[in-house]
């Protein structure tokens, strides 16, 4: 088992390396010279050239990449052009709100979507199934910003129940923090809920068609117990896998949701950095997000190796 875990972990390394190459090339091959931007409008060509040399931009690309990646491995993601702060510090400063938001969204998703999907599968081809599936398609189709603004319009502006925008740390005022988080988490969770409900339904339907379900019935299992004890554990693998893939949706969603609700998280940081052409920050953030994605999926796979008896070593 340990061997499999080590192997699986090792396989994440080349993936991260390729991500690094893509991110590096994207930013180096795009027009616009970092040194020119960094030096500011008033700089002379000589100053820019000096900056280029000091930043290592006169080196061949492979060498630049090696230098950069060596730093990254040691946790040095470079320095922001705008604020002159280390990128890793910038990310660390802004991580809190985003983590809170993502966590709430995942909890809401799992609590709502899995039961809904299971219900739809259990009542396959009835109006329940139809309603759940329609809601799911709706969730896929409405852009997150429209949902965000709609929620804001109803709950904050018309009804005045919840704050319009902004973020309060739960360390400062837990109650206010929750009130500020409700709408953003719902906005963020919507597309994930749609996805998870769908996958729960379809993988349950597939499991319900398998032979061992017939065996479970032949033993005298009532329908609900069969769903709970036999079908769901077998459908768990695709559901959890999709939650892992859903991390990508979550990250994209964070960028939009933080924009709509004006939350000072890393989503906002990303957009600000891109609009300001703050290359090192953009680079660092893309690597960071990819790392999160690969890491979460790695954790999920390792969980399977430990939990699922069918995976052998």
């Amino acid at each position: 088992m340990l061997r499999l875990i080590i192997l699986r972990t090792a396989s994440a390394v080349p993936v991260m390396l390729i991500v690094a190459v893509i991110v590096f090339l994207l930013l180096r091959l795009s027009p616009g010279d970092p040194a020119t931007i960094m030096a500011g409008d008033a700089a002379t060509p000589a100053e820019i050239q000096g900056l280029r040399v000091s930043m290592g931009l006169d080196q061949p690309l492979p060498l630049q990449f090696l230098a950069w990646i060596a730093g990254v491995v040691q946790g040095d993601l470079g320095q922001s052009i705008l604020s002159r702060m280390p990128v890793s510090d910038l990310i660390a400063d802004r991580l809190g709100p985003t983590l809170m938001l993502a966590l709430c969204a995942i909890v809401v998703t799992v609590l709502v979507a899995v039961p809904l999907g299971a219900l739809a599968a259990w009542r396959h081809n009835t109006w329940v199934d139809w309603v759940v599936m329609t809601l799911s398609v709706l969730g896929f189709s409405i852009p997150a910003f429209v949902v965000g603004y709609l929620l804001m319009l109803f709950f904050s502006i018309s009804a005045g129940l919840l704050p319009v925008q902004g973020y309060v740390s739960p360390l400062v005022d837990p109650a206010a923090a929750m009130r500020h988080l409700i709408l953003p988490s719902l906005t963020l969770a919507l597309v994930l809920m749609a996805l998870i409900a769908r996958v729960t339904r379809s993988s349950l339907l597939e499991v319900l068609g398998q032979d061992f379900v017939r065996t479970a019935k032949a033993k005298g299992n009532p329908a609900f117990r069969m769903l709970w004890r036999h079908a769901l554990p077998n459908a768990a693998v695709p559901i959890i896998t999709v939650i892992g893939l859903g991390i990508a949706l979550l990250i994209s969603g964070v960028v939009v949701t933080e924009s709509v609700f004006n939350i000072p998280g890393i989503g906002r940081l990303t957009i600000d950095a891109i609009l300001a052409r703050d290359y090192p920050v953009v680079q660092g953030l893309m690597l960071f997000f990819a790392f999160i994605y690969v890491g979460v999926n790695l954790l999920i796979d390792i969980t399977y190796i430990i939990v699922d008896p069918r995976i052998r070593y």
């Binding site: 329908a223 004890r229 070593y313």
Partner: protein, 538 residues
């Protein structure tokens, strides 16, 4: 054997039962007006070919009909209680408790992520809620002991994929026995098992029947099994009962034409003479094939799929390769066809070593060895017309389109199909017809050797007999050599001149067919022959 007196109240009594098929299929009822009964301590067999409605009969008693099927009339009485159309709650109380079911494929019938012991224990948890945890565990271990599972303590914590097929079926049986039900329904319980395992399981049924005082309704397609275990036989065709009675009566003196046809089609041991020694067409010399589960971290594990196999095959000769699952017979077929590369050894085709040929030379030679597979449904590209499938190969090897089509039509007639089949799609044909199409496709390339891997195993007995006849007549007309791979010794005896018995990657015995069957030298061969069901049918 345990002939029970006819005054006993039947445990199961089905009368005039009909099950409706959804509108729009080729017939209105899956079963129509059938009646049968099962008495205590009796094994009642229902025999029939695919589509006879025998499995539907099993499902309807258990209340496990697929959604599309509907109970249309008649009555089902379990121990005197009417259960046809009983409410779900009542059926749940009866299922697993007074009646239990064993399925054909134990691997898929067991929950893959639940420990085996827990799966047996669940039956007790459902129906005997007052039992404590330790009592349940003790009972489960007892049951495992009863069905002769080795070291029950270990198997209790195992998962289905970790034990053998025979052991899985024993777990299923233990599960069925847990509540000592009055009736056990077994749907093809030994079909997925090897012949030696099948013999053991059938023996087990017999013993358990006496010990646990149950009755068994067994669904099967195999007259050998019927002859061995049945106390009562019901023959079904197209959803109706055509004949029923005591086995010696039905098997010995069948009244209905269909029963006679079925029994006549059961392959019996019949031998073809060996041929005069001739120049071999195909020679296999000391073939080894080792699968290595490679990895730079885990230890590499070697699986010896083929461990030194040698034989030769002459024109017009058929060599049967028989063995149980895992014996390496299919790997051998794949190696001969070039789908597996052996680790060492030679395959000489017309004196040429296939593995020393260049890519282009191989492409020019390879098509002279053709293949026929087990599953007639996936052997033809479902999206291409029969004509397209038949001319594809010949045109690749230099025939003109017109020439290839003309030959394809001839071949269709040769295998007994109408020339109009050229423009039809595979789904329009039955299993037996598709197998004929596959034979035609193989023959279109004028092969010198045909490798038939379980080519008749998926077919019903009557169709099987016809296809075997077809092979024989085509071989005498066209003169190809054939490597006939099968798990079925009777089928092999019908078509092979020589037989090689394989076990664990080796040929343990090889010789003229009659010699192998009548005077086996090897212990394993003797074991295989002894396990053949239905000795009365020889």
């Amino acid at each position: 054997m345990t002939a029970s007196s006819s005054t006993d109240v039947p445990i199961l009594k089905i009368s005039d039962l009909s099950v409706a098929l959804p509108y729009g299929l080729d017939r209105a009822y899956a079963v129509e007006g059938i009646s049968l009964s099962v008495r205590p301590r009796e094994i009642a067999c229902v025999v029939g070919e695919s589509g006879s409605g025998k499995s539907v009969t099993a499902s309807v008693v258990m209340g496990l009909l697929p959604n599309a099927l509907r109970l249309a009339g008649g009555s089902i009485k379990l121990e005197g209680e009417e259960i046809g159309g009983a409410p779900e709650a009542r059926m749940n109380a009866l299922r697993g408790n007074r009646m239990a079911m064993i399925f054909q494929e134990p691997l898929t019938a067991l929950n893959p992520v639940m420990r085996l012991g827990d799966q047996i224990a669940e039956v007790l948890a459902l129906h005997r809620k007052e039992m404590g945890k330790t009592a349940v565990r003790k009972r489960v271990l007892e049951l495992m002991e009863d069905v002769r599972l080795p070291s029950p303590e270990t198997i209790y914590g195992r998962y289905p994929h970790q034990i053998s097929g025979g052991q899985r079926q024993r777990v299923m049986i233990a599960m069925a026995l847990a509540m000592e039900p009055a009736l056990i329904i077994a749907d093809e319980p030994t079909t997925a098992l090897d012949v030696t395992t099948q013999a053991q399981i059938l023996q087990l049924f017999r013993e358990l029947l006496v010990k646990h005082d149950s009755a068994i309704l067994m669904i099967t397609h195999d007259f050998g099994v019927v002859a061995d275990v049945a106390d009562h036989v019901t023959v079904m065709q197209h959803g109706r009962v055509v004949e029923s009675g005591k086995p010696d009566q039905v098997l010995g003196n069948p009244q209905h034409a269909y029963t006679r046809e079925l029994i006549a089609a059961v392959p019996r041991l019949r031998y073809l003479p060996d041929l005069e020694p001739a120049m071999p067409m195909l020679e296999v010399k000391d073939l080894h094939l080792t699968y290595r589960q490679a990895g730079w971290i885990r230890k590499s594990q070697a699986v010896h799929a083929l461990a030194g196999v040698s034989f030769s095959l002459a024109p017009r000769q058929t060599l049967g390769i028989v063995g149980e699952s895992g014996s390496g017979k299919s790997t051998l077929a794949k190696a001969v066809l070039g789908f597996e590369t052996p680790s060492s050894g030679q395959i000489l085709f017309c004196k040429q070593d296939l593995f020393s040929l260049s890519q282009t030379a191989l492409a020019g030679t390879r098509h002279r060895i053709q293949m026929i597979f087990q599953d007639p449904y996936s052997s033809l590209n479902p999206r291409r017309r029969i004509g397209q499938s038949l001319v594809e190969g010949p045109m690749r090897h230099g025939k003109s389109s017109a020439e290839a089509r003309r030959r394809a039509v001839e071949l269709l007639e040769l295998v007994g199909l109408h020339p109009s089949s050229m423009d039809r799609f595979p789904h329009e044909f039955s299993g037996g017809q598709r197998q004929r199409l596959c034979i035609a496709r193989a023959l279109a390339l004028e092969p010198d050797v045909i490798v038939a891997d379980e080519a008749v195993s998926a077919l019903d007995v009557t169709v099987q007999a016809q296809v075997l006849e077809l092979f024989k007549s085509l071989q005498s007309e066209l003169g190809f050599a054939m490597l006939f791979i099968t798990h079925d010794l009777r089928v092999a005896s019908n078509i092979c001149n020589r037989i090689a018995v394989m076990s664990r990657g080796k040929i343990v015995e090889m010789g003229e067919a009659r010699e192998i069957f009548e005077n086996p030298q090897n212990a394993y061969t003797r074991e295989l022959l002894a396990a053949l069901p239905g000795s009365e049918l020889r």
